[in-house]
Symmetry: C2
Subunit: 449 residues, 2 copies
């Protein structure tokens, strides 16, 4: 085993490619990096003697299979919906495959095929999903190992910006990952478990009913809103009977109220186009969401304030104003949904600049009973990025993939079939090596009375 | 032409079948009434010498075509999605077809086929859609005919209960038509035109931002919330350049705030199932929508009040309480969505009893300029039902169909192809005869300054 194929050399690939190439010489690996844009791949390989940049249109089946056929392990950073084709190729051609994406139902259906051919498919090897699974399972296994009975698992994570940025814009937020997912966040109904009861928070209340959570090292608490799919990993984590299960997203203080204002106005909806959107200004778009009975004597901004129950210079109104939602500038996008118009505006306002450092926060809470005592353990990870080209998010997505690739190439992974990294064989060596890169979970424990 | 086939003898068919049979003797018609339940059809035909009740499983293509082949005109009261099959049969077998349902895009695609065979397809021949088109077009044509320039068309309608019922339940509402449509009403985004600008109201604000509208004969104003599709008939009504266009739904005072409370809690959502719903009480369901930080010391009812910003005995809280949402009774429905649980509860609470009279209100407003003066004309229709078997809604859905059937059978309709009743040929004779049945629009006009 000495050939690795990396499919996709886009923004999230830097830390992965760097890691794999760094390891290549001592392990005598040949690393092929394939991308639709050959310049991007060439730049990432950067003349490394063990690396080869190639051009690939992944939809060209024969080209794709040729490349896969020459590898022992495929690492796919392609968009998630393309993994099913790559997985089918890997089964036919007898190759291992690992990705950072969510494992779809269709991929799970291939589990027997991978197992029969003694192949590895490991998905969800990034940050979230990925490091969240590994770090949670490490503590869950530890607590179970000492005889503890788990009563609650709460896990919160956020991709944020470093605190030095907070003075620069009132939202205290920038895009460090997929903007569309931020605009669509929470649409649907959040579900979680509390005292053995299922709980539901509809979208219209989700960003109003946030929790405050303290993170070591920060004076101010953070806001946390509930994720849609808290219950998804109950079985995978072996927590089938746990009475409390919650997953949330972390934001700096002040974000949720202002995002809720965008929802209430109607700007996060992607289901219908705004008529003549290319001819409207943002100011006119806001006016389009005001009905006539809503105090027509006032300015559009003041009427939006009335609608939201906000005073003219409230923190929420300042955030809306800062985005330029009351400006006379034209939208220019044609036939755009409100969500797309909002996304395009935010892309300009929330763009990570070259020297901006991002910040990943992940914190788990485990409540458990041990020898008749109730305890709570916190497990927290903070990671700062270096700049816009070397973000914490790219590191935390890429490094687990790279480390796991090494484990596969060196024959350390025995389990076959479709898996996510919840077994000790997977999480223990990955978490251990991640510490060398500053990705480390700190634990503290307290008694609950 | 002397054979009429009526497909469907369900609840909404009584007034239609009665009308057609009443006319059958003098016109020498043979009327076949087909239903999946032969007893229902037999009861509706009631031994009339010109009537024949037959059993039909409409999915059995040959049986259906046999019946259609023996008719000159088919009147379909089947569920809307079945009309495409019936329409295809009618084209093949050279039969006219009329329905009260919305005309779908697929049906419009058959327009050339109907026209080439010189066949009539007339859809939207009920109340709404139906009488709304006809009564609006009558006044629009009148105003245009005297040289008026239309500046606004606003049209509101509601299926309600007679005022004597209002003391009996705090919602002042019962189901007189499709319950599911009531539960789903407004989901999406309402759109209308105001001062030449498109306006949008998202679902989360729709039932908060209702208007008050006066109807002649009632001391108290009614609440009106905006419909989703106000702009749908701009072209069909010849109002392509009108600057104000609005359609709304009429409710008695107090309804909208309380319905908004159900939306805010999350009970109108049909997109996900409530876990273990068959084991929960309504009280437990309400608790499932409360997050832990929402004052856990209070009762569930008081916490819902806090959530809604309502005092314990406010009109909204009384309405929720009256529905039994805080009762310890079990839901019993398994794997049900919140919307389905709500619908089942409302079906019990809002059922029309035998002697209840329903009430249809429809009121159009036309603003126009004539000889430099601005005027507003109101055109209003009120109709009371007699009891649960002879509702105003069944009359207003069935009679336009019946009257139009007579026009077709007596050769009075010259236009061919797929149409809705917006032409004078269609609306004039139907509206005129509807007056004999008490379905009459009263107009009044005022000057606008």
């Amino acid at each position: 085993m000495n050939n690795i194929l990396i499919l996709g050399a886009g923004r999230s690939s830097s830390a992965l490619i760097r890691y794999v190439l760094d390891q290549a010489k001592s392990h005598n690996w040949h690393v092929t990096v394939a991308d639709a844009d050959p310049q991007v791949a060439t730049k990432k390989v950067n003349g490394h003697p063990n690396g080869l940049a190639v051009w690939l249109d992944v939809m060209k089946v024969n080209d794709r299979r040729d490349l896969i056929n020459r590898a022992d392990l495929v690492i796919s950073l392609l968009p998630a919906h393309l993994h099913i084709d790559v997985a089918t190729d890997c089964i036919q051609l007898n190759k291992h495959l690992i990705t950072a994406s969510y494992v779809s139902k269709d991929i799970y259906k291939l589990s027997d095929d991978f197992r029969h051919k003694e192949l590895i498919f490991m998905g969800e090897l990034g940050l979230d999903p990925g490091i969240d699974h590994m770090s949670a399972m490490k503590t869950i296994d530890e607590i179970k190992g000492i005889g503890g009975k788990l009563m609650a698992f709460r896990s919160n994570a956020g991709g944020l910006v470093a605190p030095e940025y907070l003075e620069k814009n009132p939202w205290r937020y920038k895009f460090t990952w997929n903007p569309r997912n931020v605009v669509k966040a929470g649409q649907g109904t959040a579900q979680y478990l509390e005292d053995d009861k299922f709980k539901y928070i509809p979208y219209n209340r989700l960003f109003k009913e946030y929790k405050l959570v303290n993170i070591p090292g920060f004076d101010e608490p953070f806001e946390v809103y509930a994720n849609r799919e808290s219950l998804l990993y109950r079985e995978a984590y072996g927590l089938g009977d746990i009475p409390n299960l919650y997953r949330g997203t972390i934001r700096y203080r002040g974000f949720c109220d202002a995002w809720n204002a965008l929802i209430k106005i109607g700007l996060t909806d992607g289901s219908y186009p705004i008529m003549d959107s290319e001819k409207l200004s943002y100011h006119e778009l806001m006016e389009a969401y005001l009905s006539v009975d809503n105090k027509p004597g006032l300015s559009v901004k003041d009427r939006v304030g009335e609608l939201l129950g906000e005073r003219p210079f409230s923190p929420v109104m300042k955030k809306l104003d800062w985005l330029g939602l009351f400006s006379k500038k034209k939208i220019t996008l044609a036939k755009a949904t409100p969500a797309l118009i909002l996304e395009e505006l935010l892309l300009k306002k929330w763009q990570l600049e070259q020297n901006d450092r991002d910040l990943i926060i992940m914190q788990h809470e485990f409540d458990f009973e041990l020898n008749g005592k109730k305890k709570r353990r916190y497990s927290s990870m903070l990671l700062y990025g270096n700049n816009a080209d070397d973000t914490a998010i790219a590191q935390t997505v890429g490094l687990p993939l790279g480390i796991f690739a090494k484990l596969v190439m060196t024959g350390k992974i025995t389990s076959r079939g479709v898996n996510i990294p919840v077994s000790k064989e997977a999480y223990e060596p990955v978490l251990k090596e991640l510490e060398d890169y500053g990705i480390k979970f700190n634990e503290r424990e307290e008694d609950l009375n």
